[in-house]
């Protein structure tokens, strides 16, 4: 029976092909979109997980570049129990690098100024990744920068090269590798040098990175800071940060599935149509099967197998297609896609499910065919 169902699909090759294509495209787009979202989330999460501690911002500021705080909080924060160090930071989105406007991307170029001496003393929290070439810099290296590998690649820089940021020249002292593009798109310089670029008052910074004696108490201490300086500060633990981030992308993921659901309805209607037409073509045949002793259940199952085969075949083609599109996009766009087994499985089951649902109505119609009418039509 399965063989017959299968053969039936290939009677009207172009019709079946179009239906298969609809499902395959649906499945492939789920895979591409979800793996893209998941890949971005994974990259961010990696960044967050390297740093254990808090980020302290101006209350109400959406993100670090929009936050402005008095430098005096540095000492106030360090007085709080459990806080090991508060490192003042300034973030600048450069307008021009080597005279060019930086290309906008997910891993956009960022200048990160911080109290480097203090960072060294606190032996780093891992935020700034390992220097691969050259050496790290100190507060006194005012005209020097350490850059991420991506910047080195994009702007063709080596240790000793000169990098022009918004018209000011800096010497590249070191190049670091990070685990993700976000980190490798960062230019590190001393706090005061970044202040000049940011055109920020002498007693202002954007944010503080707060190191803790016990990183597992991060949420507690964040609450404490927000309680004491309830009018001025917001403190985010990195774990919170990444959770928030995860939520945003979680809803994005949902949106992707919603788009997929629309594709599913279209594909489902396609399957229903394909099979209904094929039943119409085969009226006499189905009548004959009934005459020779096939029960309604047998006929029902035959049609269901057909719908399922379309689902399965379309699903497999979709998996392959999605995989290839991911590979292709990854190779030209430099984006990390995260293809997981559960995603593949979900996308495949999704196709199967569409096939199953779409099969029911045509199968019911085939069962309702009057064998006599059916035979007469032959």
């Amino acid at each position: 029976m399965i063989k017959l169902s299968f053969l039936n699909l290939f009677r009207r090759k172009s019709r079946t092909f179009l239906t298969l294509l609809a499902i395959a495209v649906g499945v492939a787009s789920i895979i591409v979109l979800v793996s893209l979202v998941d890949g971005v989330v994974a990259d961010f999460t990696e960044v967050f997980e390297q740093f254990q501690g808090l980020i302290v911002l101006e209350k109400g500021a959406a993100d670090v570049p929009f936050s402005k705080l008095d430098r005096s909080f540095e000492h106030k924060l360090e007085k709080i129990n459990g806080v090991k160090v508060a490192i003042p930071e300034i973030w600048v989105l450069p307008n021009k690098i080597d005279g060019q406007i930086p290309e906008f991307s997910l891993a956009t170029v960022m200048v990160y100024g911080l109290d480097l001496d203090k960072y060294h003393v606190s032996s780093g929290s891992g935020w700034i990744a390992e220097v691969e070439k050259g050496s790290f810099i100190r507060n006194s290296d005012t005209d020097s920068v350490v850059i991420g590998k991506k910047i080195a690649e994009d702007y063709d820089k080596f240790v000793g090269s000169v990098l022009d940021i918004d018209g000011k020249k800096y010497r590249v002292k070191g190049i670091f590798a990070g685990q993700s593009e976000f980190i490798e798109g960062v230019i590190v310089m001393p706090l005061e040098a970044a202040r000049e670029l940011a055109d920020l008052d002498a007693d202002k910074v954007n944010s503080f990175t707060v190191g803790l004696t016990d990183p597992s108490k991060d949420k507690q201490i964040a609450e404490q800071i927000e309680f004491i300086y309830s009018d001025d500060l917001q403190a985010l633990s990195m774990s919170q940060y990444s959770e928030q981030f995860g939520e945003i992308f979680g809803s994005l993921r949902l949106l992707v599935w919603a788009i997929a659901a629309i594709a599913a309805v279209v594909a489902g209607v396609g399957i229903i149509n394909t099979i209904l037409m094929s039943i119409l073509d085969r009226t006499a045949e189905i009548g004959t099967l009934k005459a020779t002793g096939w029960t309604n259940e047998n006929v029902f199952m035959m049609i269901m197998y057909e719908a399922l085969s379309i689902g399965i075949l379309g699903g497999i083609i979709g998996l392959i297609l999605g995989f290839m599109v991911d590979l292709f996009l990854a190779s030209i766009l430099n984006i990390n896609f995260l293809i997981t087994v559960p995603l593949l499985l979900q996308a495949f089951l999704f196709a199967l499910f569409i096939g199953l649902i779409a099969g029911i109505y045509p199968a019911y119609r085939a069962v309702k065919l009057d064998p006599i009418e059916a035979i007469r039509s032959g």
Partner: protein, 230 residues
């Protein structure tokens, strides 16, 4: 044994009621070779479908081996056809994507158990019908007579008691048609299969041991006789 008592079949066409059968009584016994003749629209096919448990009468009774088909549901009727009845149609109604052997065994497809024994039987039947070298041919690669032989094999695969044939020679030339009827006669004689053949071709009457003449949904004449042709 099939017994029809005063069978009526009516079709509603909007306001109009079409009476396809108007009180038909007939008895089909084991080993019979029944030929039912009548002009087009006389109700031959309708009668055959009712006798073959494909359709139910509007009024009257049809008993197949003592069981009233009016009281059976779809599933029971399907089971009855599966076990006891075979059909042969004018248009052969073969499945174009399947080869001869696959077409023959298609009625056994829903049955549980070992499929090879059905394949074996299908091959035997096709060999017996002279199609041993055409097992893997598609219907489109067969002549009309060969196709009808495939459909005869299909009607025999479940080893039924009765085989109903609706205009089995209707799409064949006279020589091929006669050959097909002779095959049925042989099965009737040698395998003790009961045949009920519905046709407007009077020449088939010569093969019958029971001749039924039908007109306007009624049996005009019914004769039992010695078979003339063998």
């Amino acid at each position: 044994m099939i017994v029809a008592e005063n069978v009526t079949k009516e079709y509603k066409m909007g306001e109009v009621i079409v009476r396809a059968l108007a009180g038909v009584s007939i008895k089909i016994e084991e080993g019979d070779f029944v030929v039912i003749v009548g002009p087009s629209g006389s109700g031959k096919s309708t009668l055959m479908h009712i006798l073959g448990a494909l359709d139910k009468p509007t009024a009257g009774k049809v008993l197949i081996d003592g069981e009233d088909i009016s009281e059976m549901d779809d599933w029971e009727l399907a089971m009855l056809r599966r076990k006891k009845i075979g059909f042969i149609f004018q248009n052969f109604n073969l499945i174009p994507t399947l080869n001869a052997l696959e077409n023959v065994v298609i009625p056994t497809e829903p049955l549980p158990g070992d499929k090879t024994k059905y394949d074996q039987r299908g091959i035997e039947l096709l060999k017996m019908l002279g199609l041993g070298d055409r097992l893997l041919h598609k219907p489109s690669e067969l002549s009309g007579g060969q196709r009808q032989r495939v459909s005869i094999a299909r009607s025999l695969i479940n080893n039924p008691e009765v085989i109903f044939a609706d205009e089995p020679t209707g799409n064949l030339d006279t020589v091929t048609g006669n050959h097909i009827v002779e095959i049925m006669r042989k099965l009737n004689k040698e395998e003790k299969k009961t045949f009920v053949i519905v046709t407007h071709d009077q020449s088939l009457l010569d093969y019958a041991n029971k001749q039924v003449f039908i007109r306007d949904g009624k049996i005009e004449k019914q004769t039992k006789k010695k078979i003339i042709k063998n």
